[in-house]
Symmetry: C2
Subunit: 356 residues, 2 copies
Amino acid sequence: MALEDAFANFTRRDWEDEPVEGTVRLAVIGVGGFARQRALPAIADGRYCESTTLVTSSPERAADVAEEYGISHVIDYDAFLDGDGADAYDAVYVATPNALHGRYAIAAAERGNHVICEKPLETTLERTQEIVDACADAGVTLMPAYRLQTEPTVRRARDLIRDGVIGDVVQVHGGFSHPLLESAGPDTWRLDPELAGGGALVDLGIYPLNTTRFILDAEPTGVYATTHSSGEPFDAVEEHIAFQLEFERGATASCTASLDAHASSQLDLIGTEGKIHIESPFGGVVPQEMVVESGDVRMEYTGPPVDEVCEEFDYFGYCVLTDTDPEPDGEDGLTDLRAIEAAYESAETGRRVGVA
Amino acid sequence: MALEDAFANFTRRDWEDEPVEGTVRLAVIGVGGFARQRALPAIADGRYCESTTLVTSSPERAADVAEEYGISHVIDYDAFLDGDGADAYDAVYVATPNALHGRYAIAAAERGNHVICEKPLETTLERTQEIVDACADAGVTLMPAYRLQTEPTVRRARDLIRDGVIGDVVQVHGGFSHPLLESAGPDTWRLDPELAGGGALVDLGIYPLNTTRFILDAEPTGVYATTHSSGEPFDAVEEHIAFQLEFERGATASCTASLDAHASSQLDLIGTEGKIHIESPFGGVVPQEMVVESGDVRMEYTGPPVDEVCEEFDYFGYCVLTDTDPEPDGEDGLTDLRAIEAAYESAETGRRVGVA
């Protein structure tokens, strides 16, 4: 593929053969900041999903957002588990704290609902396996909500690498930092290890981890990690993490994540014949600035941004409507959990830990 | 310091109180590509050094370059060790293969010559200590040739960090890759472990290692490294390395180096309150593009490039003429060797290794 071809029609939905009829009706489980600010608007803007139900611990506090999006069913978690109003939705979007993903995803699957679930799928490999098994047993679609996998810059980066434009990737640098306490109080569930399953790695580090796996189309074979916390309120989960992944065929990814630093993200892929830089890939709004060097040629793409969350829900809806397996699947979620657990073991022991 | 103040008079020589009289006469030992293409022109362009002698294994092959720079003394290594023409120079610039640095640096020191020596100072900590001791015993100046330490972008980055403009640095990403075989044959000394002391780490990785130490003004406490080679001609030294340094006060640096990838370099410093990006810092010509974010403010500097090699030799000359200790000193060289040896031990054992 010539560089120009990859950059032409940059935001194309290569996953959509042709538009299909129909809409997947969603119950949005957990109405926190991301659901309000990004998911609900993106679902409303998209073609293939529709929010019909909100599930929240305080239905009265969700009344405003229900009205804004014309959502008539607002129920609490117990009502959801009891199946109240279950005929109003076909699928669920699980956006609760990580440790509750399994409870609601499994209940939904057992009721025959398809599942799109925030990442990481759960807080342990064992719980993640239970979600994967429940969805497989029920024959429903399970998609981890890896929004980066429908982000055009990321898909184009993968296309370019598949086509050999930068040769073999040898080294990756990826980082994601965000000052959590500027947007959340110290009582946020993200600082509770029981609810979050970890700190900077599970909340932010999973982005460079999963995105690198996706772009390289390769799996990690080992990991080394160092964690650091300066004290309260980061005494129970790690404030900062640096981790180094080894991949099949010898590539490495040098990754960092921080819950307490300047908001920033980066992704650089260095190959034998070129490199790819994606500007601010992980923060939620990619400015669609991508620099590709291939031999002596350098090209920059600077098109208008796309709402990757809208892309993500449309991709999920399209897969459900066409009975297609989404590319991010249960196995993907399990691999991330294996890498996460190995990274924490490494941070504990100071040794490289294999990722089975 | 306000951001504007750091960017004003960006290329100032903050190390030069006022111009001084005099010139340090240099013997350039080892007339390879870097000496010919960068060092000799930079010395000629600079104010405080002058090349008066070339030391090379084949004086006849250096005749052209001697003529170009008006250098009347061209001798071979044995003649240098015998002290032939030693009254023509005050100091030596050692640019031989790494494993020969000690032989010539020590001979020069014992003769009372000051020494500027390419990095790493030697191939082992023990040999490096011998250079440091010889220079100390003789009372001569020893400066490792860390050209990045006189590079204006790097000095301004250090100023900004010292002044708290990006808060505490928590994570660094640094990388340097260069396709060695495009500029050298497979018989280059850089692929011979006896002469080079290692591969990608000692040739290229030392740049992010030393530059991060310099900018943070902190020393590494531990390192983890992974090396990878795809086979000949990289069977005796590592083709690629990824290494992760831990620093005092908890910062980490995620570094990579490759002798067999697209020419590229990067340095990003993420702090609690901001970040600094230096574009292509290590390749020899920094485009003087630097992006600083501090809170909600973003500033870019894009001034004309400065010849950092000229800065480096002028700094050395200035230190010799004013009898000032250069900032990069023997202890600096020893610390890099400690980190290098620890990194190789880590790559061998798969464990974090402390850097004493």
